[in-house]
Every structure is written in structure tokens, then in C-alpha cells.
């Protein structure tokens, strides 16, 4: 019975503060929903990935070589720690699809006729695994087929050895190797229309590329407990006679590493973002319960006098907070699971899994319930604990009036004396309730940080697109050549119709080593006076290619501990070329990819070859690009043609939607936080001032004036919050940029005042709305009752 009466009181208290209650519940809801959605998405992605990898035997190590006889595979299998290994032929060619006008690169991957415990097996989505005897039967990656509307039975063409070869699709598939199907790290976002993975029979690929009984790629699985590093070292030594270009473990595999970055980001976000919400919720609960305890002081004294234990009373207020927690956690869980579903749908656009569905796991939900309710109770216990310190006889007496605090404004006396009295009330109130004022500032600052970060993402996006594709890479398309050739080829291409400018480039992969520090990089040699690719130093000035050394990005310089003038060892992934010393000549800025730049003549000299190029950069006349791409694709010795514009458009398309949604959600979250904090602190402040406000009414101030006086402090405190929030937002964006910096890309530390003005304007709008809602409370004050009674 005793419990029932207190429960009844609890429910009535909640009804009396329902709007504040809803505001807290909303913040808890957001915290819970983000926690659950990110956790569930992370867990689902991880579980799907692991199942996929296990089921389709995704390799633990990868070795790219020039060409080795099939017998050499035994050498790899014999290495201690290798469980299974498969030799494949991987080759890239230009591809043509009917009615397709963009440049497409096709990557052939040879597959055995018999599919028995295959390392890097494929998952057939449609069709079947090489059902006929015809050589030209191929299976393509499902996303490529979807992008071009290709189905089983359709054909497309690949340019192999100067001739067009028609290929017939017998199946569409997914591969654990191409979950994030990008061709190279510089591509950043998958573009299924321009990159095809073509799984073809060994026989066909061997014939097509004159690789009979040979392979140029090894994928393998390690025995339990074996370390990839030592296995690779030994395998490389054994394959050395066949020209090892590059070898790496699973963690450096392109698709896997991108997926890993996403998983890490998701996991980090799943803790950081909800904690911000839940901390805000805890403090809001604290502010509300503190006020309720203050107002119900005599009731508390009475309950104690009636024989309730203090613990029962504290539990009563904790239950009030628990109610707020549950009111947020329950819908938050449902919204979180729904968000997780939406996230999965979004991830399906980026990651190719046979089945990507939400794996429901009870523990994130339990943790969310615990965290959401726990933070609210924590906020309440701190306030209601004060009750424990009171003797019933003291509690039952009305609280003595707050000690007046003379605010010494001597330094500002001039201003102070000119401040209207109604403002003096607000200033003194804010100074008296300092903790609450600080919390208001904190809430608005958090909101400001979220708003700046939301717009910052758009800023980063625009900035990188502009920097990478307008300032750095000024070419319209790139051509990769099958074999190295003389720089004169560039002149031939420059003479083709529609070509405004052509520059030959020389690029290869290499390992750079400074003592024990090593890093795999892509090295590109440009003509010294390249007009199509501008490299910039850390101050943003254009840098010319040095005649006798390398330009390395700052991230690489840091990682390898290199400075201009240092000698660095370069081990090129080029056949018969051993490690050799080179010199760092400059450190440059680089946001996408991890590229090392040099004068192509210097690179040729360093490798001990004559003037040579293995790729071209082109600038085309207006409207001449499309025919030029198809002509180039048909040329002998061309392995791939990629257009910068296609890459740019794909990049913009794939990211823009995602960014818009994230900006929208962040803005909503920032609004909820600002509203919950401001509305609740204002409500508590109005509740404390009710008698003063009623008194002003009795003096002849109208309700509008009184409402203004009651909420005077919202805008100045909010403004301080915005001002405090701005540098915090800057630090947070720097931190975020640093946190998301990977080998593949870096976010610029840009400061765009317009983002801050926009965020400040949004924050001020939230404040105005909160103020408007808070003012309505003033109109509900019962003047006569407030003036007649003591609190």
C-alpha cells in the first residue's frame, strides 16, 4: 500500500512536469537509438563479414608476381604455416558494354573448372558456374551486371591483345575479395559501372594472355597460429626468381581494409555519440529532480516524519528518473533497430554481401537500457541524495530564503548602472544559479559543435572534390599501358583528334623503407613541367618535380620519419629490380591516396632503364572525350582507360545522399539537445522565480513583459554557448579529421567561417524556439496563489 501511494505521487509528479519529461525522454531516445543502431549495424556487418569470409575461404595473404610456372605453387604450399594456396591469373583490360559510353576497366580473375575448397571462392547470385564448354563463358561481379542491366546470356566485349573478344555472361557473382569493389585506393568509392571483375576459366585466361600453365597471383590461407608476415617473407624468397611485385596480408587487402575502417568508425561512433546524448540527459534530469526536490522539501520532511525511510524517498526520486529513462529507452530501442535496418540498406549500396541483414543481438539493447536508465538515475540520485542529509524536522520547515549575493561589478559599474533593472534580475539569477547557467552554455555549445560538424562534412566533401579533381588532377582521363614504352608514345597520342594535351607517366608500386619502418606506396613519375597534375607543398604552393629525388606526402614522412634530404630505400615491385637508395626532396600535401611523386626521368634512371612510360594523362577538347575513350580502349597496349569526370561524378553521387541524410539527422539531434537543455533549465528557472514574476505582475508589468524578463537570460547564455562552442567545434573537427585519417585519405583542417555562421544561426533559431515555448509557462503562473503562499 505504501508503495502504491508513492507510485501514485510519482505519476502525478510526472504529469505535472510532462513537457520537461518528454524533453529528457527525447534526448535519451536519441542516445539509445544511435547506440543501438550503430552497435547492431557494427555487429551485423562484422558477423556477416566473418561468415562470408569463412564460407568462401577468403585468403589470409596475397602475392602479386610477374609470372611463375604452375609448379612453383608447390613452393608456396610447402612454406610452413601455409594451409592452402591457389595460383591465379589476374589481368586488367578495357571493356566495352553495348550502349555504354564510359571507360570501363575489366579485371580478369582465373577460376578453375572444378570448384573444390577454393581459396577466394565466389558466391553465385544468378546463373551457374561455367556450365558449358565454351571458352568465352564468364561470370561477372553482380554490381557491374546490375549497373549495366546485364543478365545471364548477355554479352560484352573486352579488348585483349589488340583484338576485341566477345564474352558471354553465364553467371553473376559476389566475392569476399570485392566486398568493397574498388579498383585501387585512389578510387575511394565503388563505381560498379566502370569496374568489372570478370571470373573466367583458367583455360580461357591462360590462352588469352599467353600464360599457359602459369600464374601471376597467389592467394592463400594460413594454418591456425601462423603469422602472415613470416609466411610472406619465406614465400617471397621462394618466388623471387619469378619476379615478386608485391605481397601483403589480409589487413592490407583493399576491400578488407576499407571495410575495417568503416567497422572501426562505426564502433567508435557507437560509444562516443550516444554518450554525448546520455550525459546531456543525465544533467537535465539532475536539474529537474534538483528543482523538484527543492519544491517538495516539506513533502519529503513529512514523508520522513510519517516513518518513510530516507532510502525509500531517494528511491522514489530515482524511480522518477528511471521513468524518464524508460520513456526514452523503449522507443529508442525500436527506433534504433529501425535505424539499424536503414543503415544496412545504405551499407548494401557500398558493400557487396550475399545477404546483409540485421543480426539482432540482445546485449546492445540490454546495455542501452542499462546506460539510458543508469545515466538518468545517476542524475537524479545526485540531487535526491541531498534529502538524505536532512533531518525530517529541518526538511519539513520551508527553506530559508537564498542568501543574497552582492555581485561586485565595480569593474563594470558604468555598464551595470545602465543595465535596466529587469536585466539585472536576469544577470543576478544566472550568476546565482551558476551550475545551471554553465549547463545551458554547455548544452548550446554541444549543439553548436554538432551543427558545425554536420556542415563541416559537406565542407570537407566540397573541398576534397575541388582540390583533388580541379586543382591537383587536371586531366580528363588516364590510360594505363600493358607494357612500358617510349615517351614518344605520348606524342603520338597527343596528335590524336580531340586531344588537347597528353603527358606520359611512369608508375609502379614499391616498398619504401627507412631503417625498420616500411610502407607500401604507389610511385608516379611525371614530366618535370607537368601541366595536368599539380602537386602542392604544405603551404599550398605548387611544387615542381625535383630532378633527383622523391616528393612524399606528409603522412608518409611522419610514418617513415623522413625529412627532405633523407635517404630512403625503395624496393620497386618491378621484376629484377632490387632495393635501391633514393632521396626525399620534399614533403607535400596529399588528401586522397598515398602517392609518391618524382620526375619520371629520375625514376627511370634510378631503376636503370631508359626513358620510359607505362601510362598517359590526357586533356581532351570539349565534347571529344567519349569518342576518344573508345578509340583509346581499342588501341593495342592499352590495359585500362579511366575518366576523371566519371570518377568525380561517381564520388559525388555516392557520397552526396549519405552526407545529406547525416547532416539532416545531426541537425535534428542538435536541435533536440539545445531544446532539451534550454527548455528544462528555463522551466526550472521560471519555476524558481514564479513568485518574483507574480510580484512583477502585481506591480503592473504585463505578462508579455514578465515572460521576457523570465527568459531574458536564454539568448545571452545561448550566445556565450555559441561563442564557446565555435572553438570547441573547431577542435572537434580537427579531432574528427585526425580520427578518420587513414592511409587512404586525409581530411583537410579547413576553417570556413560560413559554416560557423550557419551553425550559429541555426543554434540561435533553436534558442528562439526554446525561448518561445518557455515563455508560455509564464502565462500559466497563478499570480494570486504565488503571492499568497510561501514556497
Amino acid at each position: 500500500m505504501v508503495g502504491d501511494v508513492l507510485t501514485l505521487k510519482l505519476l502525478r509528479d510526472i504529469r505535472g512536469h510532462w513537457a520537461q519529461y518528454v524533453a529528457v525522454a527525447l534526448v535519451v531516445l536519441l542516445g539509445t537509438a544511435t547506440f543501438i543502431s550503430f552497435q547492431v549495424a557494427h555487429h551485423s556487418l562484422l558477423r556477416t563479414r566473418d561468415q562470408y569470409y569463412a564460407e568462401y575461404s577468403f585468403a589470409d595473404f596475397f602475392i602479386h608476381i610477374e609470372r611463375a610456372p604452375r609448379a612453383a605453387l608447390h613452393e608456396v604450399r610447402a612454406v610452413e604455416g601455409v594451409w592452402r594456396a591457389r595460383g591465379r591469373i589476374v589481368k586488367e583490360v578495357p571493356v566495352d558494354v553495348e550502349n555504354g559510353d564510359e571507360a570501363i576497366v575489366g579485371r580478369f580473375v582465373s577460376m578453375p573448372r572444378r570448384r573444390n575448397r577454393l581459396v577466394n571462392d565466389i558466391h553465385l547470385v544468378t546463373g551457374s558456374y561455367f556450365p558449358g564448354a565454351a571458352a568465352e563463358e564468364v561470370i561477372v561481379n553482380h554490381s557491374f551486371a546490375e549497373a549495366h542491366g546485364l543478365q545471364v546470356g548477355d554479352t560484352f566485349e573486352a579488348t585483349i591483345k589488340e583484338g576485341k573478344q566477345t564474352l558471354r555472361i553465364v553467371g553473376t557473382a559476389m566475392s569476399p575479395e570485392y566486398v568493397y569493389a574498388i579498383r585501387g585506393a585512389e578510387q575511394f568509392a565503388p563505381d560498379p559501372a566502370s569496374f568489372a571483375v570478370i571470373f573466367a576459366t583458367e583455360r580461357f585466361v591462360e590462352d588469352a594472355f599467353e600464360m599457359t600453365n602459369a600464374f601471376n597471383d597467389v592467394v592463400g590461407i594460413l594454418r591456425p597460429g601462423a603469422r602472415a608476415e613470416s609466411v610472406l617473407r619465406r614465400a617471397e624468397a621462394r618466388l623471387d626468381p619469378y619476379g615478386v611485385f608485391h605481397s601483403y596480408g589480409r589487413e592490407d587487402q583493399l576491400s578488407h581494409s576499407f571495410l575495417e575502417i568503416e567497422l572501426e568508425a562505426l564502433e567508435t561512433s557507437s560509444y562516443v555519440v550516444p554518450m554525448v546524448f546520455l550525459i546531456v540527459a543525465a544533467v537535465v534530469v539532475h536539474v529537474i529532480v534538483h528543482r523538484i526536490v527543492e519544491m517538495q522539501r516539506t513533502q519529503i520532511g513529512l514523508l520522513c516524519a510519517l516513518g518513510y525511510s530516507k532510502w525509500q524517498v531517494v528511491r522514489h526520486y530515482a524511480a522518477y528518473a528511471l521513468g524518464a529513462g524508460l520513456a526514452g529507452v523503449v522507443p529508442g530501442t525500436l527506433v534504433g533497430l529501425w535505424f539499424a535496418q536503414l543503415l544496412m540498406i545504405e551499407y548494401e549500396r557500398w558493400f557487396q554481401f550475399p545477404v546483409l541483414r540485421v543480426h539482432f543481438d540482445p546485449w546492445p539493447v540490454l546495455l542501452a537500457v542499462g546506460l539510458g536508465c543508469g545515466m538518468c538515475i545517476l542524475g537524479a540520485v545526485r540531487s535526491s541524495w541531498e534529502v538524505m542529509k536532512l533531518e525530517p524536522a529541518v526538511a519539513i520547515r520551508p527553506q530559508s530564503p537564498q542568501k543574497g549575493r552582492i555581485v561586485h561589478f565595480s569593474a563594470f559599474r558604468f555598464l551595470w548602472e545602465r543595465l535596466p533593472l529587469t536585466w539585472r534580475i536576469s544577470v543576478r539569477n544566472s550568476l546565482r544559479a551558476r551550475a545551471r547557467s554553465l549547463f545551458s552554455i554547455f548544452g548550446v555549445a554541444v549543439s553548436m559543435v554538432m551543427l558545425v560538424m554536420a556542415t563541416q562534412v559537406t565542407g570537407w566533401f566540397d573541398w576534397i572534390v575541388d582540390y583533388q579533381y580541379r586543382q591537383v588532377d587536371r586531366s580528363d582521363c588516364r590510360v594505363e599501358l600493358v607494357a612500358e614504352t617510349s615517351p614518344a608514345a605520348a606524342l603520338d597520342v597527343a596528335g590524336m583528334p580531340g586531344v588537347r594535351r597528353a603527358e606520359g607517366i611512369f608508375q609502379f608500386g614499391a616498398e619504401l623503407r627507412n631503417e625498420w619502418r616500411t610502407k607500401d606506396v604507389a610511385i608516379t613519375g611525371f614530366p618535370p613541367d607537368s601541366r595536368l597534375y599539380h602537386v602542392h607543398d604544405m603551404e599550398g604552393r605548387r611544387v615542381r618535380m625535383p630532378p633527383d629525388g622523391l616528393l612524399i606526402p606528409r603522412r608518409l614522412a611522419d610514418e617513415l620519419n623522413l625529412r627532405p634530404g633523407d635517404v630512403v630505400m625503395m624496393d620497386p615491385y618491378v621484376r629484377d629490380k632490387d632495393e635501391r637508395p633514393t632521396r626525399v626532396r620534399g614533403v607535400v600535401e596529399e588528401y586522397l591516396g598515398l602517392n609518391v611523386y618524382a620526375d619520371r626521368r629520375y625514376l627511370a634512371r634510378t631503376l636503370g632503364v631508359g626513358p620510359t612510360i607505362n601510362g598517359l594523362m590526357l586533356q581532351a577538347d570539349e565534347g571529344a572525350l567519349e569518342p576518344l575513350v573508345s578509340r583509346l580502349s581499342e588501341m593495342p597496349n592499352v590495359s585500362a582507360v579511366t575518366t576523371t569526370r566519371a570518377m568525380l561524378e561517381n564520388f559525388v553521387e555516392s557520397v552526396a545522399d549519405l552526407i545529406n541524410v547525416s547532416v539532416f539527422l545531426q541537425t535534428i539531434a542538435a536541435a533536440v539537445i539545445a531544446f532539451a537543455v534550454i527548455y528544462n533549465t528555463a522551466s526550472v528557472s521560471i519555476s524558481e522565480q514564479e513568485r518574483d514574476l507574480a510580484c512583477l505582475c502585481s506591480l503592473g508589468y504585463d505578462r508579455g513583459d514578465v515572460a521576457r524578463i523570465a527568459t531574458n537570460d536564454i539568448m545571452p547564455l545561448g550566445l556565450i554557448g555559441v561563442i564557446v562552442g565555435a572553438p570547441l567545434a573547431y577542435l572537434a573537427t580537427l579531432g574528427l579529421a585526425r580520427a578518420f585519417e587513414t592511409d587512404v585519405f586525409k581530411l583537410p583542417a579547413i576553417f570556413s567561417p560560413e559554416h560557423y555562421f550557419l551553425a550559429a544561426a541555426q543554434a540561435l533559431i533553436f534558442l528562439l524556439i526554446s525561448r518561445w515555448v518557455s515563455r508560455r509557462r509564464v502565462h500559466r503562473i497563478d499570480i494570486v496563489r504565488r503571492l499568497k503562499t510561501l514556497e
Binding site: P401, Q402, K403, G404, R405, I406, P420, L421, T422, R424, I425, R428, N429, R432, R691, D692, A694, C695, L696, C697, S698, L699, G700, Y701, D702, R703, D705, I783, V784, L787, K788, T789, L790
Partner: protein
């Protein structure tokens, strides 16, 4: 001061009733009261707790509207003013003194008086008012630094400083001890004499009634008696 016919009528309340819901029942706080308040008089409304005296005061003061009946300030009907007009009425014509002083804790004594004068058309000098209640030397103190009696004297200064037609005191000594209560009444009496303002005091204390020019007795929402006091006592001589 004692002959009704010599006096100008300031307020006329006719058949004034006020009832309000309390839970599921309706409480009749005032039942058809008829009353005239004269200019410059000190009227005491006397009655036990819950008899409707504060309700009557609030209706005169424009803090509340009657359920039925009329109240006129001279020729102007104020009973059914809307919120905006009631505010203007309180601003221009009424000075309140409450039982619990109701000073704004974040303003000093002087500022508490100023906050009232700032919305008036023709206020009296703030420092003169503080001097009149004997608190000019404590003008820069906050309410929490003043005793109860001092706070109530600031409240009196605040009410007078507005230069209103009427000063309404709702149990002005209710929260004060005997000595302080008497002191506050003396101040009130002096203010009344010096400013020639109409003062209406509501109290349950029979002794206080002796200082009024007229005493209105209320019981259960009805005016039982209006007694003219031929020789009002000085608060100094009151005892309870």
C-alpha cells in the same frame, strides 16, 4: 474623516460575488458584497481565515475578476477588464503590500522600489520613499540581508512610490512578530497621513481594526458590518 457624505467615493462594489472550483466542489468566496471605499480613508477589512477578505482585496486590486457584480473606480467599471486593461489598471492605480513581502531577491532595496516606479507614469522619488520608511541607509542591501520588518517597509515604499490611487495591504503584519508588526503599521499609518492615499488593509487581527477609519467585517463571503471608527487608534497603542 468620518462622515460618509463628505467623502468622494473612490470604489463602488455592487453585488460582488466570486466563486471558483476546488476539486469537484465550487467554493463561494464572496457572496454579493456591496461596499464603497472613500478617497483618503484607511479601511480595515476584518475577518477570520477563509472569509473572503483577500478575495475582495484582489478584486479591488485587479488581480482577479469577479464571477458576478460590478466594481467601479469612480465612474469606470473595472470588474470585467481584460488582462491587458487589468495590467494597466494595476500599473497606474494600485500599490500592493503582501503578507510575505514578495520582494525580488535578486534586486536591492532601492532596485525593488525602482522596478515598480519604472512602469508608472508619475512615480514618486525612490530615495524619498525609502527615507519615509526609514531605510535609505540600507537601500543597497538585498532582501536576504534585511529583517522581515525591513523587507515589509521596502514593500510599503514600493507600493507608495508608484503614486497609486489606493494602497492594498493583505495581512501586512501576518509574517512578522509583534514588535515588528507594530512598527510596520506605524510606517503604514504615517505613509497614509503624509501621502493622503487611500489604504485598505486586510487582516484577521481584531486589534489592528482599531487603527482604521472604517472597519468592514466579513464572514463566509458576506459583509456583516461596516463600522465607522470615530477615533482611530495610533498603532503605537495597539496591543494583541
Amino acid at each position: 474623516m468620518t462622515q460618509a457624505q463628505d467623502k468622494q467615493v473612490l470604489y463602488t462594489a455592487h453585488d460582488l460575488s466570486k466563486s471558483y472550483p476546488m476539486g469537484e466542489v465550487r467554493v463561494h468566496a464572496l457572496r454579493g458584497a456591496n461596499l464603497e471605499v472613500y478617497e483618503g480613508e484607511l479601511m480595515v477589512i476584518l475577518g477570520p481565515s477563509g472569509c473572503g477578505k483577500s478575495t475582495l482585496l484582489n478584486l479591488i486590486g485587479g488581480m482577479d475578476s469577479p464571477t458576478s457584480g460590478t466594481i467601479k473606480l469612480r465612474e469606470t467599471e473595472i470588474a470585467h477588464f481584460n488582462e491587458r486593461r487589468l495590467t494597466t489598471y494595476r500599473r497606474k492605480h494600485v500599490g500592493f503590500i503582501f503578507q510575505f513581502f514578495n520582494l525580488i531577491p535578486t534586486l536591492t532595496a532601492r532596485e525593488n522600489v525602482e522596478v515598480a516606479t519604472q512602469v508608472c507614469d508619475d512615480p514618486l522619488p525612490v530615495d524619498e520613499m525609502l527615507e519615509m520608511v526609514g531605510l535609505l541607509d540600507r537601500a543597497d542591501h538585498f532582501p536576504a540581508q534585511l529583517s522581515g520588518g525591513e523587507q515589509q517597509r521596502v514593500a510599503i515604499a514600493r507600493a507608495v512610490a508608484k503614486n497609486p490611487e489606493v494602497i492594498l495591504g493583505d495581512e501586512p503584519t501576518g509574517a512578522l512578530d509583534y514588535e515588528t508588526g507594530k512598527l510596520v503599521l506605524q510606517v503604514l499609518k504615517r505613509v497614509h497621513e503624509e501621502s493622503h492615499k487611500t489604504v485598505v488593509i486586510v487582516t484577521h487581527n481584531v486589534a489592528i481594526a482599531e487603527m482604521g477609519d472604517r472597519v468592514v467585517r466579513l464572514r463566509s463571503g458576506d459583509i456583516q458590518e461596516i463600522k465607522v471608527n470615530e477615533s482611530p487608534s495610533d498603532p503605537e497603542d495597539l496591543a494583541w
